[in-house]
């Protein structure tokens, strides 16, 4: 039985996700004893890092040529080398020891981050950035942090995700209301897939601690702030991340791809 963290890393024209992945892996290893890390990459994004245990190269890149490379994410169930997997996104940072999470998570097949935290680590239910979730009454699950174990239920879920991605045109025209995305985004795919396999959300687990800080202005309820990256004085001191004077402990999905420079600018 193995446990570990997995995420996809596919560099785009404007973002070096390998660098972000190394930093996320480093912070996971810094804080956790259970710290196996696997990063799934395409052929152009292959990298090596002392903090990453396994780098898996996609044999077939469905997102080739896409500006936003979400098209491979349904494959995570087949590609993960672990029995128990926490799937993340590359633009995140780990801020505290979460080894104890596994004792709760491994009792279940599939656990999502339902809703997210603001920088004060208070739960935010708003769907400001999620018009399709709002319009289609989809569960407010985030793919940015998802636990699954090798199980039939998780396999059903990811098979449904695959069907949605591969039949996106039909899905957006027939299953979703007012959806005009040319390409599927993982958050919508996850939410719709979950709605399909568990329509009444009876098995949707909502652990109050299994959430991440989503560093978007409206999540912090400040949609129109000047200089949103700097507004709350983010900084890092000895691997502790602060917003203003508050040290954060939840994982941080920093969203802005040059955030690491902003984070260190005040302290280095």
């Amino acid at each position: 039985m193995s446990k570990g963290f997995v995420w996809f890393c596919q560099n785009s024209n404007d973002t070096d996700y390998s660098k972000l992945s190394c930093e996320l892996a480093r912070t996971i290893k810094k804080h956790n004893k259970e710290n196996n890390v696997c990063v799934i990459v395409d052929k152009e994004s292959v990298f090596q890092s002392e903090h990453v245990d396994v780098v898996k190269v996609l044999s077939n890149d469905d997102a080739h040529g896409h500006q936003k490379k979400f098209a491979n994410e349904y494959k995570v169930f087949d590609l993960t080398p672990f029995t128990h997997t926490i799937k993340l996104e590359a633009d995140m940072l780990w801020n505290s020891c979460t080894d104890w999470w596994w004792y709760y998570l491994w009792q279940h097949d599939l656990v999502f981050s339902v809703d997210c935290f603001d920088y004060k680590e208070q739960r935010v239910k708003d769907k400001e950035y999620r018009p399709y979730h709002r319009r289609n009454f989809l569960p407010n699950v985030y793919n940015g942090m998802t636990y699954f174990r090798r199980s039939m239920f998780a396999k059903d879920f990811f098979d449904t995700c695959e069907a949605i991605v591969k039949n996106w045109k039909f899905v957006k025209e027939n299953l979703l209301i007012n959806c005009f995305d040319e390409l599927p985004t993982t958050d919508v795919v996850y939410a719709l897939a979950y709605r399909l396999i568990d329509p009444t959300s009876q098995q949707l687990l909502d652990y109050p601690w299994f959430k991440f800080i989503h560093n978007k202005p409206a999540i912090h309820r400040k949609k129109y702030m000047a200089d949103p990256q700097n507004y709350y004085y983010p900084m890092r001191i000895d691997d502790s991340v602060f917003f203003g004077e508050k040290k954060i402990t939840a994982p941080l999905h920093y969203f802005y791809k040059n955030f690491l420079e902003v984070l260190d600018a005040r302290t280095l």
Partner: protein, 247 residues
């Protein structure tokens, strides 16, 4: 050690705070049995009918709330104004229908303030944690000893008041008018080394401004909101509806 209550009362063209003060003092006499000192201005002094110690100051009338005069700029001077060793400063629209304040006075903390309040109608959460980077305190009731630490707290409140625009920017406070709640929150945060500090453990029961006050008696109030009539008894109440002066 002397103990007493310090009130600030300045009538405005819209609200007769002196009438509210008289009612507040009668409840303090009944339920707390503490001496009361009222800080007021020359115009208001003659309108306060209660038997209490009054001190006249030149009030700073610069602030407004909802476009109406709001004379809230003296609270930071409470340390200097208070003749007591252990002082309770409270808003005059905070009515003591219980002896809760007496129990708080017996605590060993040299500075106490509420950190939470709730609407008695339970319609909305009175939380402002998204409006600033630090947690708000409710300066409705302050309890303090005269110690070097509390002196430092009040001095810091003065500093915050003098540079309020700067502190609003620093703590990303949305509300730009001077508000004692934020000034004390900032001062407590800084004096306590940006860490948690002791607060009054319960929450202020707040009667919202849009609830009609039908009756005030010795033990509580009867209010009406829409089609509901509610009796609130034996608990301290903070009235936001200034019509309380005319009930």
């Amino acid at each position: 050690m002397t103990k007493g209550v310090l009130l600030y009362c300045f009538d405005t063209p819209q609200v007769s705070y002196s009438k509210i003060t008289d009612r507040c003092i009668s409840l303090i006499e009944r339920n707390l049995d503490l001496p009361v000192t009222v800080i007021t201005d020359a115009d208001t002094e003659g309108r306060i009918k209660s038997n209490c110690d009054t001190r006249v100051v030149d009030v700073d009338k610069g602030n407004t709330k909802l476009s109406k005069p709001w004379y809230n700029l003296e609270r930071h001077l409470a340390f200097d104004h208070s003749p007591y060793d252990r002082t309770v400063v409270m808003d005059v629209d905070y009515f003591c229908y219980s002896d809760k304040i007496l129990r708080l006075l017996r605590s060993e903390n040299d500075f106490l303030v509420h950190k939470s309040a709730h609407d008695v109608l339970h319609r909305e959460q009175m939380r402002y944690d998204r409006e600033a980077m630090l947690d708000l305190v409710w300066a409705t009731v302050l309890i303090f000893d005269k110690t070097p630490r509390t002196r430092a707290i009040f001095d810091t409140v003065k500093l915050v008041k003098q540079n309020y625009v700067h502190y609003c920017n620093l703590y990303r406070i949305t509300y730009k008018n001077f508000r004692n709640d934020y000034a004390f929150a900032i001062a407590l945060n800084q004096i306590n080394g940006h860490r948690e500090y002791d607060v009054i453990p319960d929450s202020i029961a707040t009667v919202p401004a849009d609830a009609e006050i039908l009756e005030l008696n010795d033990n509580g109030a009867v209010i009406r909101y829409k089609d509901k009539t509610i009796s609130l008894q034996d608990q301290d109440l903070h009235f936001l509806n200034k019509e309380v002066a005319n009930v």
